[in-house]
Symmetry: C2
Amino acid sequence: MYPNLEAHIASFVKLQPAGLEILRASLKATDLRKKELLFREGEICRADYFVDKGCLRMFFIDDKGTERTTQFAIENWWMADYISLERQTASGFSLQAVEATRVLALERNACEKLLTAVPALERYFRIIRQRAYAASQVRMKYIYDFSGEEMYRHFSRSYPGFIQRVPQYMVASFLGMTPEYLSEIRKRTGR
Amino acid sequence: MYPNLEAHIASFVKLQPAGLEILRASLKATDLRKKELLFREGEICRADYFVDKGCLRMFFIDDKGTERTTQFAIENWWMADYISLERQTASGFSLQAVEATRVLALERNACEKLLTAVPALERYFRIIRQRAYAASQVRMKYIYDFSGEEMYRHFSRSYPGFIQRVPQYMVASFLGMTPEYLSEIRKRTGR
DNA sequence: CGGTCTCTTGACGGAGTTCAAAGCTAGTGG
DNA sequence: CCACTAGCTTTGAACTCCGTCAAGAGACCG
């Protein structure tokens, strides 16, 4: 039914057929066109989204009206504003498809019920969240440690090909710099 | 036995007496003096640490030899380098007591066994990790959005009193600036 | 009290931003 | 399938925030 997600879960915990059924019933598959939004700044994040195919980004608009991309999510990543999702309060972010994207949405109430019915998934999400947090610890270190140029070099080495998938101004805002400056760096470092 | 941690867990999940016993047996309480290290950059993070009393910080040394503080943890927070902990590889961080601190250490193997024996704790840690991750999403937003001066104002409003607990150069490095510049900001904004 | 750690001050420099304008590219409709 | 347009990228000059360096003033601990 959802081979990518099911394989992903299976690599962490073993589900009973009954559990798998409940999981499938808890999800809603949605296809998004390029630039389509799952929710907008000020709205509530209603689900945790698994990227089945494609790419999502999280961003907000700063006081000067510029978009600032804080995260990307590609295949096999979950993405949500977890504060907005937990408390059902207005989100400070927007969630958008960077390209044509298929997501599996696990809505808040469905998630609660799912975890009660299939406790083995608590373990799956515990591990997933721990890894996401670990990744953000490392990323924080890069932000503290690297200059703009080092950030770009690190990023383009770690995710070669991803650069082609995303417009450069989004990469720039993700790296915490202006598109103009990224352009200058790319000229210096030879694309 | 460990009233702070046990109350903290109880606010999320209900443990059976037997589970509580196993939990207690899995922990090691350690008292640290000011500046004492739990592990050093290049060593392995062997446990997840719960701050029972006091304050920890995570930091690394940048290429110029300057300490950069990436996180603080106070009472009722867990702290670890989760990549080093999961893979048992060398950590890119050091973990240090900012003041006299009492931690409860949950070592990696003990943690594995504990979670197998008491699956209800998977839920506790899933929620805790999700909140930690949510906090890092918000923090990331501040980092993208705020100037140095705004970061300081936000920080000193959000955690009044914490400033007094921690030397200023650690606050500066946490805010991503030099002590000299923080000093200048404090002069401008009236302490 | 003496020495080390911490905080402050000020002059200077550089990484990165801002603004404006021109060149490209890709998607869209005819 | 081409032409047009809107959006993306590049360039360059002026500017600014913040880091660097160096030196002095406190403050804390033995």
